[in-house]
């Protein structure tokens, strides 16, 4: 409206200048009728002095002012009339009330005529007014009298009364009597009438009003309380005025109206306003009322406190200039827009951020709501702000979690599907579901939940659904899903019912594809079985021990070894439960070493002794085990029973010893043979050479004799060698248990003459029950040899005494033959003692063959000879006969 005004400023000024020089100005000024010419913008162009005087515009210039400026307000009706007039509607007459500067009521009759220029264009309005105040007042009085007469007052509950001062009588009409609650026959007086008013303020007021009217001629109209004859308290509007005639007080005339309902309604309204006000002020939300131009009319305390402001900081200021806008310049334009939109009837709402008193940003749900009057015009704007800090935070969180959920939902390897409980319609599924089943999002509309259930599982599905309806949540349940391509896979499903906002029952199903897991599980089971079979069938003892060396796993071999029938008898027990204390202790020490150092023990030869004393040799490895936490959790042990191997090794070692001994013997024998034969052949060779060259017959004969001797020697040597060979070849000659004393007796018998010749004595201490396991003829030979040797190498100083004794020792029967002979320097000649052709005594009988053969015989029977000797004292031969074969 204002904008339009500014655009027309130029035209108006032109027009104004024109009119000022017009001679009609003067004419119009003098018109007897009150007349004003206003232009289209309702600006006074001309005005008669009468018009100016009637409306008391004498104080200032009238010309150029608008009607609104002059009258303060132009009523809606008048405006309508003026607008019609400008449209060319002629002669509109209206009556308007006007209060003059003394607040006197004045009534004018208005005539509005369009003002045409010479081209018949409406350029304004000619307003004529005539003062009809007297006429109107008279008419009102007339009407009032009419009311009184016709008693129309009932409708408005207006009663009347008159006081005749001359007669001092008070007249109440029936309505007045009814209001006072008195019967129609009641006769009031001025005094009794006043007494109906409530004591105090009410009664005093009315008494003073009556007094004033009588003495000063003043009329009254008061809202007062009185108590009716029936004791009811009511509100009345009591009005009255004095009547004078030629300065003589004749009486009073007045009206009396029951306004209890109106007053009470007013009180109620005020009460309501107060409540509204307090709500307005104490509401949690910020509330303000703006005029349509965005000026603050009201603001509540919540908003003021929030920004630490006083009402006057805000009221009458523009909405967009308020303190709390964080970036005023930026926001201002937007806010102006918002206010404009609201003032044009739009409901504005948005989330904005405002500053609190500490300049902290607070999110606010802001709205601006237009408020209309009864004519549908926007008269004010209701600005409201609700702090939504918590809401914003919560929403942010929600958004985050929704985002997370969405990501999880889409990225989850678990299939999710949402379907309608009743219809089975699928509403949504995630990508995992799509991937697994082969359905795409485009398929959603076409498929129902039952389509992913294979026929074989329909029954199961039905059961699940029934359960679900009953308890809302089911799972996990293993079932089959049917893919788009018709194949199936195994899933683990969880279902839960949820109800949508619209009350639709939906089913969330999560389905985890466990076909792979199942396959793996089977595979693991298979592998475990395989491993178990493998471990059980290993020819090794396998066990796993925990940190305390308690066994947690054992294989069949270990179970068997421990002598129990099943693993439960071993699990949880340790080595102390099965093995000899020493074995268990050293095993525990090994365990600790392995676990503490984290160094495996590989292939250690250990000897295990069971509680029953059984000895087993193991090749044991112990490998530390690491738990999930990286700490040692125990160890795995592998033991290979090498007792047999060990036995074989022993045997082999024995065999190697025998073999190498044999070999040594063989080499020795080869040397003996070669040496002895060579020495003979060398002699032959030499003698033959001599023989060839020898001329002397005598000498020749001597050489031939020598050749014969050499030949004899050779033969003898060959015999001896044969004997030795025989002994060594015939190692398999059957051994028999022979009573030793029997043999000794036989030899003694044979050597009786020889022994006697040398005064030799044999002391036999061999127990009679001593048996030796021997080749019988060797036994003869052995005894013969040692006994004859003892005599042969006797000490010339004393008679030979030969003592025989026997004892059992480690599987051998040991025969001791002790003599008191010359003895042998074992240090010097020990190695020659049993050598072939080794002699070391100056004894012509010594051939160096006897002991050699004896030794061979004993060794061929797995025996041995140990010699003790001291020169000059005697020699003891300990002959070991092996008791076994």
């Amino acid at each position: 409206m204002l904008r339009n005004h500014f655009t027309l400023v130029g035209n108006f000024d032109n027009m104004l200048r024109e009119t000022k020089i017009s001679p009609s100005t003067y004419l119009i000024k003098q018109l007897p009728e009150a007349t004003a010419f206003v232009d289209k913008k309702l600006r006074v162009v001309y005005a008669s002095d009468k018009w100016v005087n009637d409306f008391e515009f004498t104080g200032g210039e009238v010309i150029g002012k608008t009607l609104q400026q002059l009258f303060g307000t132009v009523s809606k009706e008048w405006k309508q009339v003026l607008d019609n007039c400008l449209m060319g509607e002629a002669k509109e007459v209206g009556i308007e009330r006007y209060y003059d500067s003394d607040k006197n009521e004045k009534w004018f009759e208005w005539t509005n005529i369009p003002w045409y220029d010479d081209k018949e264009n409406v350029i304004g309005i000619i307003i004529q007014t005539s003062d009809i105040t007297q006429r109107v007042l008279n008419e009102i009085k007339l009407e009032k009298l009419e009311i009184l007469l016709e008693d129309k007052s009932e409708i408005a509950k207006i009663g009347s009364w008159e006081y005749d001062a001359v007669r001092d009588s008070l007249y109440w009409c029936d309505m007045t009597k009814a209001i006072h609650g008195v019967p129609l026959g009641y006769v009031p007086s001025l005094e009794t009438g006043i007494e109906f008013y409530k004591e105090g303020y009410n009664r005093n007021t009315i008494a003073m009003a009556v007094d004033n009217a009588m003495t000063k001629g003043a009329a009254w109209s008061e809202k007062l309380q009185l108590t009716t004859a029936k004791g009811k308290e009511i509100w009345v509007m009591a009005a009255g005025k004095p009547i004078f005639k030629k300065n003589k007080f004749l009486g009073l005339i007045g009206t009396f109206q029951d306004i209890t309902e109106e007053v009470e309604a007013q009180i109620k309204k005020e009460e309501k306003d107060r409540i509204v006000r307090s709500i307005f002020n104490s509401s949690y939300q910020f509330t303000g009322i703006l005029d349509p131009d965005g000026t603050f009319l009201e603001i509540n305390e919540t908003a003021l406190k929030f920004a630490d402001l006083k009402a006057e900081d805000v009221i009458n200021k523009k909405f967009w200039d308020a303190y709390w806008w964080p970036v005023p310049d930026l926001v201002k334009a937007g806010l102006k827009q918002v206010v404009k939109a609201a003032s044009e009837g739009e409901f504005m709402r948005s989330e904005i951020v405002v500053f609190d008193k500490n300049k902290e940003s607070v999110p606010v749900d802001f709205s601006l709501k237009p408020i209309y009057d009864q004519h549908g015009k926007v008269v004010s704007l209701l600005a409201e702000g609700r702090m939504i800090k918590e809401m914003v935070v919560a929403r942010e969180k929600l958004k985050q979690s929704e985002k997370k959920f969405r990501a999880l939902y889409e990225l989850s390897p678990v299939s999710y599907v949402l379907n309608d409980l009743e219809t089975g319609e699928i509403l949504d599924f995630n990508s995992a579901f799509a991937e697994k089943t082969g359905y795409t999002k485009e398929d959603i509309a076409q498929i129902k939940y039952k389509d992913i259930i294979p026929d074989t599982h329909k029954k199961v599905h039905k059961d699940i659904m029934q359960q679900l309806k009953k308890i809302s949540v089911v799972g996990p349940i293993e079932k089959e899903y049917l893919k788009k391509d018709g194949t199936t896979y195994t899933v683990l499903v969880n279902k839960s019912i949820l109800v949508s906002k619209k009350g639709r029952k939906l089913v969330w199903t999560s389905a985890q594809d466990i076909s792979e897991a199942k396959r793996k599980e089977l595979q693991i089971l298979e592998e475990r079985k395989l491993l178990k079979t493998l471990i059980d069938n290993l020819p090794l003892n396998v066990f796993i021990k925990d940190r305390d060396s308690k066994k947690v796993l054992v294989n069949k071999s270990e179970i068997q070894f421990c002598g129990v029938s099943n693993e439960n008898e071993i699990i949880g027990k340790d080595d102390f439960d099965f093995f000899d204390k020493e074995t268990a202790q050293s095993s525990r020490e090994e365990d600790l070493r392995v676990m503490d150092s984290f160094e495996p023990m590989i292939g250690k030869e250990t000897i295990n002794i069971k509680k029953d004393g059984t000895l087993t040799t193991f090749l044991t490895s112990k490998i530390p085990l690491k738990g999930i936490d990286g700490e040692v959790s125990g160890l795995v042990g592998i033991s290979l029973d090498i007792s047999d191997l060990k036995q074989k090794e022993e045997e082999l070692r024995g065999l190697i010893n025998v073999t190498s001994l044999q070999n040594k013997k063989l080499i020795n024998f080869a040397h003996i043979v070669s040496h002895n034969l060579r020495s003979h052949t060398a002699n032959f060779s030499m003698l033959l050479e001599f023989l060839i060259d020898e001329k002397d017959e005598q000498e020749k004969k001597k050489i031939v004799d020598m050749l014969i001797t050499a030949s004899d020697n050779l033969l003898e040597t060959l015999d001896n060698l044969n004997e030795v060979v025989a002994i060594n070849i015939n190692t398999n000659l059957e051994k028999k248990p022979v009573r030793l004393n029997e043999k000794i007796a036989a030899v003694e018998e044979n050597l009786m003459a020889f022994l006697k010749n040398h005064n030799a004595t044999i002391i036999n201490e061999v127990p009679d029950d001593t048996f030796i396991n021997v080749v019988p003829i060797y036994a003869d030979s052995i005894l013969m040899n040692f006994i004859t040797n003892a005599v042969k190498y006797r000490d010339p100083e004393r008679d030979p005494v030969i003592k025989l004794s026997a004892k059992s020792q480690n599987g051998h029967t040991v025969l001791s033959i002790a003599d008191n002979g010359v003895g042998i320097d074992l240090k010097k000649n020990g190695d020659k003692l049993f050598g072939m052709y080794k002699t070391f005594h100056d004894n012509s009988d010594a051939r160096g063959i006897g002991l050699y053969i004896t030794k061979n015989q004993i060794e061929s029977m797995n025996g041995k000879i140990i010699t003790c000797s001291e020169v000059g004292k005697g020699t003891t031969f300990n002959i070991y006969f092996n008791e076994k074969n």
Binding site: S674, H675, N676, S679, A682, N683, M686, F690, K838, A846
Partner: protein
């Protein structure tokens, strides 16, 4: 060529001793040839000589396998005797055992005497070679 003052033949085999004597005689290298049946007898003789002004043997023929004291036992004691002059000791053996050869080499390295290892039979031309003053 100077004749050898004294030769010892130490051997328990009468045929071998006969052979040596015959060979040495035929070569006429020495007028004083003494024979001993084992090491001990020879050693005793040498010890006796050391106490007199008699000539020590300049060449010794030594057998290994002998009773009482064999060739090696003799050598061990012989090299320990205080004999300043260098004696040639011809070890004569029918043994072809390498151990015996190494043993003689061992003795050779331990003494200033000349130890020579020889295998039987000894031919006439060989004996001439080894019957020299060391």
């Amino acid at each position: 060529m100077r004749k050898i003052n004294s030769i010892f033949v130490i051997d328990d085999d009468p045929i071998t001793v006969f052979g040596f004597k015959k060979l040495l005689a035929s070569l006429d290298l020495c007028d004083d040839i003494k024979t001993y049946g084992n090491g001990k007898l020879a050693l005793d003789a040498i010890k006796d000589i050391l106490n007199t002004t008699e000539d020590l043997p300049e060449v010794i023929f030594l057998d290994i396998n002998m009773p009482i004291m064999d060739g090696w036992q003799f050598l061990e004691e012989f090299i320990a005797l205080p004999i300043a002059q260098k004696v040639r000791v011809n070890v004569i053996t029918s043994s072809i055992d390498r151990v015996d050869y190494e043993k003689s080499e061992m003795f050779k390295s331990k003494t200033h005497h000349l130890i020579e290892y020889n295998n039987k039979p000894i031919r006439k031309r060989e004996i001439e070679e080894i019957t020299k003053v060391a």
